[in-house]
């Protein structure tokens, strides 16, 4: 590995970490799309900042662009407050307008400005190591590594300092304001941090992909845990590992680094989405199927419980009467027999004492809707686990 390669991976890892932390809170606060809006609407801020500072990595430019990000949030909330349109429409109206202004500003001043809309939107990590930071003529490393490292340090510092406040206001805004932490201050604090991170990251990974780095690791982690601390750690791990894996994929394919980082993030998310132990697609589908069978079983047992006459309990009659397909009836009858709840003699189905007891309990639960009746059955049945 050459030095630039190590530096690129280092920058990628730092960017991924700095994005993942505010990303967790954005996802939890259902504001994931704000990051998309900010990442687009900082463009005019960057352009104006570039006019003033002539340096893409200047702290002033980052500050100015971050202010544009906060202005976006204020505008969205202002429009939302008028009640004329819903929040998502407000977001969808504000950021394209600001982005358009940015694009037009760049196009009109194409001669004076070495800024390419493609570059802003897509970024180019491969060039990041060539922009060095010189302190007293000594090369101390790539500029963007220092910038993002600074942002990451501030983010982590603020996270540790305000962890409790952030946690409370994220999950219970009412309680948080009752306890005296203003949700508004925390909200704008989070928005400012997100803006600064997006601006700092845009020239490494681009405006759209910064959204992926913010949302995808957090969403992936959210499918695996519901503990905030674990979620933070997991999303940092997902972000950093995808960033580094993405770099090598890009190296292999000779394609855009940020594109392949996102693709790796996408694959990781897809895998977790499909296979997450409790919240993944397959687990959910399995659970829903199981619940459907159990509801059928319950209906079946209740039907048996209600009828003493033989004609109602004939196995073929059940097929017609409850109107199930053959396969489903078979599954249900098998399940009931396996659990010793019914016996079948001469095609007549009869409830066993165990089945009778179960049916009575279930009936009582349905009538009273009290959990304690079925507490001990929860282990055996998905249905009652909610």
């Amino acid at each position: 590995m050459s030095t630039p390669q190590i530096e690129i991976q280092l920058i990628a890892a730092v960017v991924a970490m700095a994005c993942a932390i505010p990303g967790v809170f954005l996802v939890l606060r259902k504001m994931a799309l704000i990051s998309d809006a900010i990442s687009h609407s900082i463009l005019p801020g960057i352009v104006i900042g570039f006019f003033l500072t002539e340096d893409l990595n200047s702290p002033w430019l980052i500050l100015l662009a971050a202010i544009t990000g906060v202005i976006t949030v204020v505008l969205v909330e202002g429009i939302q407050k008028t009640g004329l349109v819903k929040e998502d429409t407000a977001i969808g109206l504000v950021f394209p307008a600001l982005f358009s202004i940015g694009v037009i500003l760049i196009a009109k001043n194409a001669n004076d400005i070495h800024l390419d809309v493609d570059a802003v939107l897509l970024g180019e990590l491969a060039f990041a190591p060539f922009d060095r930071l010189l302190i007293a003529e000594i090369d101390v490393g790539p500029k963007s590594l220092w910038v993002m490292g600074g942002i990451l340090t501030i983010t982590i510092g603020l996270l540790i300092a305000f962890f409790k406040e952030l946690k409370v206001s994220t999950f219970d805004a009412g309680l948080s304001s009752a306890l005296g932490f203003s949700p508004v201050v925390l909200h704008y604090g989070l928005m400012s941090i997100s803006s600064v991170t997006v601006v700092g990251a845009f020239d490494a990974v681009g405006a759209v992909l910064v959204v992926a780095l913010m949302i995808a690791p957090a969403a992936t982690a959210y499918l695996l845990t519901s503990d905030l601390k674990k979620m933070l750690v997991l999303s940092v791990v997902f972000g950093v590992s995808s960033a580094i894996a993405g770099y090598w994929v890009a190296h292999l394919l000779d394609a855009s680094i940020s594109g392949s980082m996102t693709t790796v993030l996408g694959i990781v998310f897809l895998m977790v989405y499909l296979f997450a132990p409790r919240k993944g697609l397959i687990a959910v589908m399995y659970r829903q199927r199981q619940q459907r069978t159990e509801v059928s079983l319950l209906t079946f047992l209740l039907h048996l419980n209600n009828h003493t006459e033989k004609s109602e309990r004939h196995i073929n009659h059940l097929n017609e009467h409850i109107n199930w397909q053959k396969v489903r009836s078979q599954t249900v009858v098998d399940l009931a027999q396996k659990n010793n709840m019914i016996t079948v003699t001469n095609n007549i189905v009869t409830l066993t004492p165990k089945g009778k007891e179960f049916t009575d309990l279930a009936l009582e639960y349905i009538v009273t809707n009290k959990d304690d009746k079925i507490e001990y059955m929860k282990d055996d049945f998905f249905l009652f686990r909610g």
Partner: protein, 369 residues
Amino acid sequence: MDLKEYFSLVFSDYTLRTITLGTAILGAICGMLGSFAVLRKQSLLGDAISHAALPGIALAFMITGTKDTNLLLLGALVSGLIGTFWIRGIITKTHLKSDTALGLVLSLFFGFGMLLLTFIQKQPNANQAGLDKYLFGQAATLVEKDVTLMAIVTGICLVVLLLFWKEFKILLFDADYTKTLGFNTRFIDILITFFIVLAIVLGLQTVGVVLMSAMLLAPAAAARQWTNRLSVMILLAAVFGAFSGVLGTAISASQNNLSTGPVIVLVASVFVLFSFIFSPGRGVLFKQVRFWQNRRDLKLQKTLQFMFDIAKTHEDISHPHAIKILNNFQGFAKTSLKEMEEKNWVKVQGQEWSLTQDGYNAAENLYKQ
């Protein structure tokens, strides 16, 4: 070229005519379908789908090796639809919320698309240039064939809209009721989503991936402010969309270095801003005016009640009193007093006022309500 010249050239110049017609049709279809997106609270679906269409364009190019617009747009349509259904899958099957799902699909598909685009660019194939026009759109590349395609799709969309008008409308406002009536809500839902995706894909060439969502939203959001009727809203949105298209093209053609997409979006945003402020029913301005009016009425009524309370303790209700005692309502008394005098509720003589019979009755009426 200035605006006047543009409008004199638009009917004779082939390129200008094609582009103007194209952006107008695009604006109209986006406005029409965008109304549904806005009312269904799926405003940002457009943003997600337009980004999700990018890998489809790249893959279509990689598979066929041609840059035929129709084939590329077909690829975009397929990948946009996959994105849409994945969003649905994430929302219905996991506990992730819609904003996260939209953001995920948007950024992940776009990233994958960028990977493919950069991968294509490195291939030893001279044909690949120009794929990136789908990022920001280039209205200038519209040719008559594209406009014909847009017109056909708009026509089909219009027919379907009229055919399923009742179903679309009822699903929009009361999904549960629709289900109980026995309509196949899933089918209607997929149909309308399909057309929204189609409109987005059509616009990619003109305004590009990034700004497409505004094209869909802005005319509809502007139209929403002027009416509460669905049919009027859709019509208005189509008109706003078409006007934004034409005006945007005109402005960008009349200046150097102005790409059409951003200008169209800005024009549409101006429409929205204007509607937000000046719409008579919902607009911010008239809402504020009504608010002031109500406040003034309330103050006047308070003064009148105060007068009534004093007057009723006297035998002669028109017994004059000093204006000074109205000072409880400092500053407000003057204008209120003037207004009441005009209504002939009080008589003012010098520094004293007296309630008339009319005023007494009016005040009594206030208490009765």
